[in-house]
Symmetry: C2
DNA sequence: ACAAAACTTTACTGACCAGTCAACTGGTCG
DNA sequence: CGACCAGTTGACTGGTCAGTAAAGTTTTGT
């Protein structure tokens, strides 16, 4: 019962490549097929629609980012706060490599799709929400570890994790607009500052 | 020499409306024209291309956001750190109003465009970079005021301002993915925490 | 009144869009 | 052998895309 064709895998790889390079709407099924060396009829043998391919590509890339960035950053034996630093450092390396290969900081596949499609396609929005929540859960565990280790005050762990994810995505956005991965290095320390609230009462 | 037609203004308003509702690529010139009650030939009388319309719409919206959000948040007589709070609160109100009117959190016009187009169209990327830098300058002034007032330690003012902008955009993104403007309220306090680094030496 | 400028209108390109279909190929069963 | 199955192929549909051309109308300044 072994697979007899890798056309589907090639289409998914092309989807990741081309949707990252441009956007969902700017890449047609025809171009996707040419890039993957597959005929259009075969495309619709494997996927029932372009949206269906997108949903599978999201799944695929979600696992890839987990493997390449989230797991190495969060599941290590590093002290909790260093894991956050590592998250930014790995992202920096990733975007820098992209820029060297293609001339462009391509940003986060999920963030890109989120802003392009989440007002248009509820199933994609929902899938992205789940992916982000999964990442937040990893961050949350790290923040909790930091609190337990006494590195952090007794903060709102869930909200802090959401804040760190939002900051992460925001910094990637700014790096993309400037086409400069260096921003991920320069602004990495801000993420720790989101957690380290020594509850100094300011402004009222 | 008074203007004899408001068709151009109507096209710009439609552009803002429809590009926010969906995206740049998903709104055609024809639809834009129908929404504005203008014939296609007239569109190309006022704009030399769809991209040209986009650049003018960016200019337009940049001024509008300045008027509606940045100026009220930053140019007030409020204490500096409250201005940041106000930035988030005004954004919350804005996105909440959008959701009530259209059922969707539409996010930031600039952020949306940035992630959709900044790898494809260098002139739009460049324009967005300038718009973000302008906002960062406003934030920077506020952060500097806070340092001068003794509310903040002697931090890197420029980097902190960039961090706050990135965080702002990131939180708007997350609010859009969840279709929940409430996140802008819940995560507002994180922005102050980005500034308040009481340089506690943690992790090594 | 007149001409020029500002604007509108209609009809048109040629390319591309997502998606469909039926015929076909080569391998693997019984 | 013959049927079945996974996958392939190329031609096709109807619609939409950005952009153009040229003639027509209205508004303005003089």
């Amino acid at each position: 019962m072994a697979r007899t064709s890798d056309a589907k895998e090639r289409l998914l790889a092309s989807a990741l490549e081309l949707f990252s390079e441009r956007s969902y709407a700017n890449v047609g099924v025809q171009e996707l097929c040419e890039h993957a060396g597959v005929k259009k009829g075969s495309f619709y043998y494997f996927f029932k629609s372009k949206q269906d391919l997108m949903l599978e590509a999201l799944e695929h890339q979600s696992r890839a980012i987990g493997r390449m960035i989230l797991t190495p950053a969060f599941c290590s034996n590093l002290p909790p706060l260093e894991r956050i630093e590592r998250l930014f450092h790995l992202t920096y390396e990733f975007q820098k490599a992209m820029k060297e290969k293609t001339g462009r900081v391509r940003g986060c596949f999920f963030g890109n799709l989120a802003l392009e499609l989440s007002t248009q396609d509820e199933s994609i929005r929902h899938r992205l929400d789940r992916i982000f929540r999964t990442a937040i859960t990893s961050i949350e565990k790290t923040v909790q570890d930091a609190v337990s280790a006494g590195d952090l005050a007794d903060i709102d762990v869930a909200a802090t994790a959401e804040a760190i994810l939002a900051y992460w995505e925001g910094v990637i956005m700014l790096a993309k607009v400037r086409n400069d991965p260096g921003l991920l290095k320069d602004l990495a320390k801000g993420a720790k500052e989101l957690a380290i609230t020594e509850t100094k009462d300011t402004a009222g």
